[in-house]
């Protein structure tokens, strides 16, 4: 059977998510190597810049459109995606491993009764077959896996695969108006943490831990994060102390992250925390205790007092 790729493109508020560009780029690279066909699908109402996906090597996207699809609905989106996949007859389906991706991919796997590999950090070809790596135990180990079914679904961990610079190529956008939408599961309200970047999607994260001693001392962490365009994270100790919301928690019972830069401030580095952030590309540790485990995964460290170093770091970055 000839291979055909289908990439699910995720939008929120009419904007394509960065993690979907990463999936498009990875999919188009693999499709090229396999000399396979590739297409993309997006579900929603008004969506910006759909043709821009051409810049990532995919030249055809179908937009399943209806005003009722403005907000995400797992029942509506899943039903439409399953139907589209059937018509497309693609056998390799890629999605980003976001909350939405993790809703939709499993439903499709049940429908196709096929192999599903989620949260991949590596997908490559070996002997014309796809082979994936995914972390387990919050990254304390990595499994190398493959499916044994004719069709396969993969979800890609955000921030791991690089979308790179888009070319100027434009994709052909096919709009298909959808007449009936299954809203058995309906999102009635979306609250956004104002101006807040989520740690699972950020390129840079500044995290604070127990050594910051109080909730108000996260002010300097937030200031540094905003200067760097970063998200603010926290260790479990800081979350359990009630200083930060659980959505900020990085580690085994929080979020596993892989930003370009992770700055750990006054975090000693419990094994659960290290597991959740050690795949970051660069790690900076700032901690008074020079023997703290966090230094074992850090690229650069300052073994000193965060209350002295962070304000100095803020000044230094402002200067430049």
């Amino acid at each position: 059977m000839a291979n055909k790729f289908l990439i699910y493109v995720e939008q929120r508020d009419g904007n394509i998510k960065k993690s979907s560009f990463e999936a498009l780029k990875k999919g188009s690279d693999l499709a090229k190597q396999l000399n396979a066909e590739i297409e993309a699908v997006v579900i929603g109402n008004e969506i910006n810049n759909l043709e821009s996906i051409g810049g990532y090597g995919v030249n055809k996207i179908t937009h399943l459109k209806n005003a009722e699809l403005t907000n995400y609905s797992v029942s509506a989106y899943t039903e439409l995606f399953i139907k589209f996949t059937g018509e497309s007859n693609a056998n390799i389906i890629l999605l980003a491993n976001t909350l939405m991706g993790k809703d939709i991919a499993p439903a499709l796997a049940v429908n196709l009764n096929c192999g599903l590999i989620v949260d991949c950090t590596q997908i490559e070809l070996r002997d014309n077959k796809l082979f994936a790596a995914r972390p387990v135990y919050a990254g304390k180990a990595i499994t190398f896996v493959e499916t044994n079914t004719p069709k396969s679904i993969y979800t890609l961990r955000p921030n791991v695969f690089t979308a790179g610079q888009a070319s100027n190529l434009k994709a052909e956008v096919i709009i298909k108006n959808v007449d009936s939408v299954n809203l058995t599961n309906k999102v009635t309200n979306v609250t956004k943490a104002e101006g807040k970047l989520d740690v699972s999607e950020a390129d840079i994260i500044v995290s604070g831990g127990r050594g910051l001693k109080a909730a108000e001392n996260f002010g300097m962490i937030e200031e540094l994060a905003s200067l760097l365009g970063a998200a603010t994270g926290a260790s479990r100790a800081a979350v359990d102390a009630g200083w930060r919301p659980h959505s900020d928690q990085v580690g085994q019972t929080g979020k596993t992250v892989s930003p370009n830069l992770y700055i750990a401030v006054a975090i000693s580095g419990a094994i659960q925390h290290l597991a959740g952030m050690q795949s970051s590309k660069f790690i900076v540790a700032i901690n008074k205790d020079k023997d703290a485990p966090i230094f074992s995964v850090a690229d650069y460290g300052i073994a000193g007092d965060a209350f002295e170093i962070i304000p100095a770091l803020i000044e230094e970055i402002k200067k430049q």
Binding site: G139, I271, Y300
Partner: protein, 248 residues
């Protein structure tokens, strides 16, 4: 109403992972097992729901005989009955979901809770798979849950915010931290749980669609640079981030 809660028996998060000689699983020697942390929220929500609307709560766990320890903890917290779906095989997520769904169906349960993720394999899709197999509604990653008649209003955490969701029974709800504060088992509960019989059923599975080729530890990082011990090291740190790492 019949409520099912699916629970998993997993290595404690403080475990240092070593790879076993088969190169496909972790070495279980000296590993301490616990109730999957997110499943504790699921158990609590199941018990709270039963207290509010009546009915019974059945816990299901799939795995080896040792999973009974986790089932017994659930019984001690107040769960009515427990079923072990026994297998020594390593199954992929879809195979596990099929076995769980079959049992849920035979129990005739219309509300199912489980943790949003099991902290061993971290797939975080089990609830979604089970819901899809059963044709139930799904709310994954729930931080609040309200049931009124057949109607469900729930909140869930998404990237950078929250969604409020309206749906209805039958449904699968996967629990995120923040959903509730799990209760402690009472002494009476613990004593009572010891006497309860945990039903065992052999899992008749079912194909694995994902093969594990090997498991490895992540590559060890080369030791980093300690740039200094006080604020005087800051300019050098910023220079390294700009010029060497090129990340700011």
């Amino acid at each position: 109403m019949k409520i099912v809660v699916c629970v998993n028996h997993v290595p404690d998060t403080a475990t240092r992972v070593n790879i076993s000689s088969d190169q496909k699983t972790i070495d279980l020697e000296r590993v301490v097992f616990v109730v999957n942390p997110y499943d504790e929220f699921a158990i609590e929500e199941a018990l709270k729901t039963k207290e509010a609307v009546g009915g019974e709560v059945i816990a299901i766990s799939l795995g080896k005989v040792v999973n009974k320890e986790t089932l017994r903890k659930g019984l001690a917290m107040g769960i009515d009955e427990a079923v072990l779906l026994k297998t020594d095989e390593q199954l992929d997520t879809l195979a596990v979901a099929k076995a769980l769904a079959e049992e849920i169906k035979s129990q005739n349960a219309e509300l199912v809770f489980m943790g949003k993720q099991s902290v061993d394999y971290d797939n975080a899709v089990m609830g979604q798979l089970v819901a899809a197999i059963l044709g139930y509604n799904i709310v994954a990653n729930a931080t609040s849950f309200n049931l009124s008649g057949n109607n469900i209003i729930a909140e869930r955490e998404i990237e950078g915010g929250k969604e409020t969701i309206a749906t209805m029974l039958p449904a699968v709800i996967t629990a995120q931290k923040g959903l509730n504060e799990p209760r402690y088992a009472s002494l009476k509960g613990i004593m009572g749980a010891k006497k309860k019989v945990i039903e065992e059923k052999e899992v008749q599975i079912i194909d694995n669609f994902v093969n594990v080729i090997e498991m490895k530890k992540p590559p060890r990082k080369a030791p980093g640079k300690i740039v200094g011990v006080d604020a005087s090291a800051v300019p050098e740190l910023v220079r390294l981030l700009k010029e060497e790492a090129k990340v700011i």
